[in-house]
């Protein structure tokens, strides 16, 4: 029996799933949780911060990260949104790494932290070495007490920052549709932040390379822990209820006599996505005729779950659709024969 869609017993679907599940039976979710970058990619694109669930989803999808994102996002949509946290400034981040490519030295210092940037990409076959305890200590200058100022504060007179017309209104794209033209800034940033890493990187790269006008400089890139603050339901007082891993990036690009700022913030540790997001934010503000300045082109196509779903739907039966097209082709060929 082949892939015949005339009539299928439901057991067939279960059998197809079982064939995949068997392989990962032995894999422990605790181990997957340690694969931070996979877990963070999935949490960021799903828009749900839960290491346990993300690790479980990665296991269930056999390491297919888009599929894992899909699982996590589908689950998220079954949850009630209890509350919104208070807006938080990136300044409040408990920083573990922070760099600027625009300035050699910055107040609070450049902090390399954990990074692969300067690793030689040689596969190591040896056992990993013990990491000395002092490597984990952070070398903040005591003056800032762990909370570092934003580099932008020191060049604020040169920055071109326009107030949005949204007046602080906030659009939650998981509850409201994004409409064009001119979606609110909060919606644009959410679309970018939940976008698929590869899609963002590819589009940002196209702009850097010449298919867009923007090739920015990183004013500041920081990784760390952002506090989650809510208003207490009874007292109304602000209380910290937890922290999330996050990556924040601000890039700058010349616009007339000022510098324009692009902003990127993603859940989890993912610098290339944060940089790509900040770059695309600049591209979208540019409003020229390049592909990356077309808000519909960018925002409609960067969602990984949407994109994978539609590309993979091509595997569904299309007999009716195809027969109808085939009918037209046959007809055209017949007419051509008649002409001869």
């Amino acid at each position: 029996m082949g892939f015949v869609a005339v009539k299928v017993e439901p057991e067939k679907i279960e059998k197809a799933e079982r064939l995949l599940k068997e392989k990962v039976k032995e894999v422990a979710e605790e181990q997957i949780k340690k694969l931070t970058f996979s877990v963070d990619k999935v949490m960021s694109e799903a828009g749900l911060y839960s290491e346990e669930l993300a690790a479980g989803a990665i296991k269930q999808s056999m390491g297919d990260l888009l599929e894992a994102t899909f699982l996590l996002r589908a689950f998220k949509n079954t949850l009630r949104r209890i509350d919104y946290t208070e807006p938080v400034d990136g300044k409040e981040m408990r920083v573990i790494r922070r760099i600027s490519s625009a300035f050699k030295d910055i107040p609070g210092g450049q902090i390399l932290g954990p990074s692969k940037d300067y690793s030689l990409r040689l596969i190591t076959f040896d056992e990993p070495e013990e990491v000395p305890k002092e490597d984990f200590k952070l070398s903040y200058t005591s003056k800032f007490d762990g909370k570092l100022p934003k580099v932008r504060e020191f060049i604020k007179d040169y920055l071109s920052i326009k107030k949005t017309k949204d007046n602080g209104a906030f659009c939650d794209i998981t509850k409201e549709p994004v409409t064009f033209p001119n979606p609110p800034r909060s919606a644009v940033l959410q679309c970018l932040s939940m976008g698929e890493e590869g899609a963002l990187v590819m589009l940002a790269y196209s702009s850097l390379r010449g298919y867009g006008a923007v090739h920015p400089t990183i004013l500041e890139l920081r990784q760390g822990y952002l506090p989650l603050i809510i208003k207490h339901p009874l007292t109304g007082k602000k209380v910290k209820v937890g922290e999330v891993r996050a990556t924040e990036c601000e890039v700058i690009w010349q616009e007339n006599n000022k510098l324009k700022v692009g902003y990127g913030l993603v859940l989890g540790f993912n610098e290339r996505k944060a940089i790509a997001m900040a770059t695309l934010d600049l591209c979208l503000q540019a409003k020229d005729d390049t592909p990356t300045s077309d808000e519909e082109f960018v925002l409609y196509h960067i969602d990984g779950v949407d994109a994978m779903g539609f590309v993979e739907h091509l595997k569904l039966p299309h007999y009716i659709f195809f027969a109808s097209i085939f009918d037209r082709i046959k007809k055209l060929q017949e007419e051509k024969k008649d002409e001869i």
């Binding site: 390399l112 030689l120 020191f154 010449g210 010349q254």
Partner: protein, 287 residues
């Protein structure tokens, strides 16, 4: 398993050396090459590194800089690879001693001499990319020496803002024939390319291109008779460490928000502080 001397296999080195010779024979013209995957991320200097490694002999003395510095992370990392895979090759910070200098975004303040090769890391080999995104079209424009769009680009900036807005990657005309991307060196360094004693090689790994400016070659920045090319304004500033004026300076912001300046070229700054005489480039246009 052992890596070959200087990481790349000998066939690859031969290909790259031949492409370098071709690039020198046609100044400013971009020569395609195969470009290997290097153990550094693309954009960190893989093109220049392939040139450096292909040219390396045991008796070479290598210097690597980024933004003018020898001791920042990127050069340290590149030197780590050279040390690991090219044993015997001497690494130096002394600009005058080096036979090969790999650089990102700077030409040293100290004048380079006949025996020296400066290998520049190049993100964008195509100077016309500012005005034309298609490679097929820019190749044709080079073949026909059709650079009108590039002139129009800076002319429009002059009309709209009264200034040419290109900061780095300033386009230059090489040997009256090819328009060339000067890589993200500051405009301060552009005049050094003109009639120099040394060889300038440019490697773009991701874009798979090599190009060159041979010694004693005319290199002119794009400009108009009534609006000349200008370097960055370094007047009325001096290095806080060595006191030098007329050098390219980095702006540094202290924790209290105060600004001061230091030489971007760390080896130059060190030599001045030690009282070592440094020969400077002549023919440098000031802002």
């Amino acid at each position: 398993m052992k890596y070959n001397f200087a990481y790349l296999d000998e066939d690859t080195k031969k290909e790259i050396r031949r492409k370098v010779l071709k690039a020198i024979a046609i100044p400013g013209h971009q020569i395609p090459f195969a470009s290997r995957v290097m153990p550094l991320a693309k954009g960190f200097g893989t093109g220049a590194l392939q040139i450096t490694l292909s040219l390396l002999k045991k008796e070479d003395v290598v210097k690597v800089i980024d933004q003018g510095r020898d001791d920042s992370l990127n050069p340290l990392n590149i030197k780590r690879l050279i040390k690991k895979t090219a044993p015997g090759v001497e690494l130096t910070e002394d600009t005058a001693r080096a036979t090969i200098i790999q650089t990102r975004h700077r030409i040293p303040e100290e004048k380079l001499r006949k025996h020296q090769i400066l290998v520049l890391q190049c993100p964008f080999p195509e100077p016309l990319r500012w005005v034309e995104k298609s490679e097929a079209k820019t190749r044709k424009m080079h073949a026909e020496m059709d650079y009108s769009k590039a002139y129009l680009y800076i002319y429009e900036q002059l009309l709209r803002y009264g200034e040419i807005l290109i900061g780095t990657r300033y386009p230059v005309m090489v040997n009256n024939r090819y328009l060339m991307d000067s890589t993200p060196i500051p405009r301060w360094d552009i005049p050094k390319l003109n009639y120099a004693d040394c060889v300038f090689l440019f490697g773009a790994g991701r874009e798979k291109r090599i190009y060159a400016v041979p010694p004693y070659t005319k290199v002119e920045p794009l400009e108009f008779e009534d609006h000349k090319f200008r370097t960055e304004d370094m007047s009325n500033k001096r290095c806080a460490l060595c006191g030098s004026e007329n050098v390219y300076l980095d702006e540094i912001i202290r924790d209290n928000g105060e600004k001061y300046y230091v030489c971007s070229d760390s080896n130059f700054c060190e030599k001045i502080r030690k009282g070592i005489k440094v020969e400077r480039w002549e023919n440098v246009i000031r802002s």
